[in-house]
Subunit: 233 residues, 6 copies
């Protein structure tokens, strides 16, 4: 199976479905991580270009841990918009990964880049299959199934299903720790300890299913429904 996780910023995918991706990789899926923005405002000291460069390297390191491909879209952090050019770029990037399954941000997420990134990604699931929309990569043969990822705090997100990630939780933490600059930035800007912070989300979802750590998902509730939770690891 080919799995594509689409995050707004470097580290979003690790936070919200890093354990699930690790399990996908373990069962032999071809995993791709696609990142919409370059994270170029996430620093208190570096310039935009410097921090973007740092974050790309961190994202590559993180993806490398599970053998995932990285697609770096390079849009400006905090300024993702849903226009024609961006829609086309997403269609092309999704076709490059050619996924059976996509993980995307949901509409109740707290960050505008997340919501907009999720909207663009979900809106591409049909156009990626249309031959007359021409991009660098060819049209896909099938509409991918779309899973919506949880959000920070779980506010306004009602899980439909859970993936127990307790056995790959260390891998998820290693992926998170690859994003060294974010640890520093969150400490500086919001006084938060990165991995401890993220652990609260997987702990409360694990509580629901009686395990240490879990990640929660919904399916996009829209016609056509081409797959379902049986695709999850």
């Amino acid at each position: 199976m080919r799995v594509l996780a689409i995050g707004a910023h470097p580290d979003d995918v690790e936070i919200l479905c890093g354990g699930t991706l690790a399990k996908c990789a373990l069962r032999g899926d071809k995993v791709t991580i696609m990142i919409a923005t370059n994270g170029n405002v996430g620093s208190a000291k570096l310039t935009k270009n410097e921090i973007a460069s740092v974050r790309r390297k961190e994202a590559e390191a993180s993806a490398g841990i599970i053998g995932a491909d990285l697609i770096w879209m390079d849009y400006d952090d905090e300024f993702l918009f849903h226009d024609r050019e961006t829609r086309m770029a997403f269609i092309n990037a999704i076709r490059r990964a050619n996924p059976d399954v996509m993980f995307v941000h949901g509409s109740s997420d707290y960050h505008p880049d997340h919501r907009i990134c999720g909207e663009i990604a979900a809106d591409c699931r049909i156009p990626v299959t249309v031959p007359l929309i021409l991009t660098e990569y060819p049209a896909m043969a099938r509409i991918p199934h779309v899973f919506i990822m949880d959000n920070l705090g779980g506010i306004g997100f009602e899980p439909e299903f859970y993936v127990d990630i307790s056995d790959v939780y260390d891998t998820k933490c290693r992926m998170l720790r690859s994003h060294e600059s974010q640890d520093a930035w969150l400490q500086y800007q919001y006084s938060m300890d990165y991995v401890t912070f993220v652990a609260k989300s997987s702990a409360i979802r694990g509580m629901a299913i009686g395990t240490e750590h879990a990640e929660a998902f919904r399916s996009l509730p829209m016609y056509p429904v081409v797959g379902g939770p049986s695709l999850l690891p």
Copy 2:
């Protein structure tokens, strides 16, 4: 796996998850159909006792088609209430079937017996495991996972997952046709053709997933979540 489908009236389970039960049986599950009321108002000509007796035989015939056990609770049709005696009877009956998975009516269903039956059934999932609640059958070792069934017309029901029943649709129809009295009653009371009528529900759910016929479900969105859609056939 042991599967228990709990319907308010004879034929409810066939309508809402008959195809799924047929698939469960095919993969080797132990299937039980539990029916709360005896259907004793479903006739234009027979007495209450006569029609209840007819409907029990029809329910047995239907269950027999897929080799399912039948638990006949014998409450009065149209007058199911959620009181202590009924709760205890449900606990005992569920323990008898000892299911890993239960299918129950949901809260947006159109018929009061359906809603109340679903409420009682779901409310029993924890008490069935409590040893100090004494019934004829012993306490179960595990809380069963609860799936909520679709309703007639699909109004107020948003599917989380689907089971493609196209390959067992004939079996579902044979189960439905076992309820001969209902065909007559629905013709008389509401001028509806039974199997044609029910087919509209599985057709619209099949439309969503691109097959001829499907049945749709949700998981009970409540702690603890002890299973999930991977339990579906």
Copy 3:
């Protein structure tokens, strides 16, 4: 009465409210069908211009069956966006039809073009009445009432009222069959039989009200509410 149905693609209006429009025409309403995109990706063999040209002719033929006017907006299929130019074009087109009632796509629809088309259309209901917004056609005297159409599969759509279209169902099918290229395209791309497919939607809505075929609607739940279901045929 003047009725305007606004669809994202050629044939959307026929699928979702074709029967209702046929009944409007029968009672003497002036019916206009406005189509946002030209359907220029809906082919496996033709060029964009060729298929757009074919689809316009099909749309004209379909509208002609009920004596409706056609407004052809000619935006690119799969790439409708809500920007100032498009908003102005919609304001002008709506003023041309000068409707008492508009039918628009809803926010839970599966296709991005549908959702965006519905959003633009609904957002125009007040500006169309404002004299200082200058377009080719003059400002309307009254805000039109807005009905939201059902979607494919009926997922996330809770009907408020229904129109029984059984007696005009043949007309609806003739309108659908005017879109010959779509039948071919859906066969090629998704292996679906067009009219059979669409019939599932009107069958499930008909089931709710006890008829063969029906279409379902909601009113836009927003101030000011200038009309209501009494405007429906």
Copy 4:
């Protein structure tokens, strides 16, 4: 047409749909007001029996203003429960009125008697048609259409349609003023002026549709839907 409005307490029906009933009466409908409880706690000075007797007379006077029949169920105020005896009493009373249309309290209403009364009433719409359920009055020929009434403050109630009651607002006020004891009680217990208080509800609903006074309704969103807003005056 035969119209039945079912309120939990004397004056509920007047507050929530009194104008609509007045319009029904004006167009020639046979209107019945059914009141579940006797209002026997609504006094600071009288005994339970005394105040219940006063309120029945007030309810009769109010119903008389529009020529409506009154069905007095006589349950204890604040202690309405949904049990078998009460369900049967409601079935019988509804059959007595034999309505085409029922107005009932909704599930988001603030008062437990209202919610429970609305639940019982709605749950009777199918049993009233079943011949084998024997009561004093015979089974009805058709399931009545059910409208859900607004609530005080309009919290958690999203209107589907409105009835402009501006032209019968004086009649509504006269009906309200018939409940003299309530004016006194609300002054004593909650320091509220009765008619002024109720006017706020019809004013905000009128605001939505651009009139002085309106009442708002929803249809019960459940299979089968046997009528709709075209039944409203």
Copy 5:
């Protein structure tokens, strides 16, 4: 201020609002904890009477830590129902505490005793003020404001406001640890460590507001709204 927290079982109140109650006590409120059932099934070894007796002592010890009064309703665990006798007993008990503010279970809670307990409690807020409803304790002068407590896992609960309990978290843990039998029972029945388990709930709510531990609440969304979040500590 007088604060009343109403839990279905011994320890529910501590889990869901123990920190908030500790803060109420610290600011000088009169705090009462009212427990609907006696917890008489919560043991693998003791008889019903024995475990009920143990749990009452534990509940008293827990309440004692913050100087709260305890009202012990003594209904059977797992079998709370909303009938007239129970409604009257709740009215009397609430009048005894005479609260300005009540904390109750919500309708999306996972346990039937919780949901039913919350429904009864909320439904009493008006009757407790009605003089003609006679109980041992006199009618209250004012309707109390009702806060709805979070649930285990936070599923289906959208917080409206939060109380930062970090500074009283130790007190909350001491209250929880007073319920020694539950620690043993949860270990035996569900293999859960009690305090660790509960900490996950306050951690995720704390995450939302940037503190270590928090508890989340909603106001009952029903007329009349007699107070609000300014009443929280």
Copy 6:
């Protein structure tokens, strides 16, 4: 405290939270009113520039009544869109006011300018704190708390908390009356009396809490929640 109310048009803020702002001013808050569009279509006789100029003067007069600053964004009325330039302009303007608390339009509001203005404003709450996003005014030190304002008619808006504005209602009316051109325009275009019209909204919200006039709010339900209703006057 610094309070920023962001309205789409001149007078929106007065209608939806004018009383609350008056109370903020009375307790010593620094109040800023920011207006996205210049209201340049709100006239039947003047040119766009003329009416925009009139409305700015009216807005200044209104703000002056409570000593509030005015930020005039000058976008075209009816044509506010969420693009990068507008997002940047909002970030800069919000930083100028540097608020602890923001009042914004909600997503169920009836007017597209309102919804889009509210979306841009809420989406800025995080970027305003990011140093690498450079604007005329410096990055803010803290994310402001966001309150969502009620809408006209209260449709689709469920209040979480209320502010009793009875004692400042005269001030609110004076602010409204400052917008003289709107009174004329609403009379001309929709035959509405301005202050009478707006009073219906505060009357129904006051009804809920038992006062003459109130305004209703929700908190933005998104991580991080940096404040809450204790910030309200």
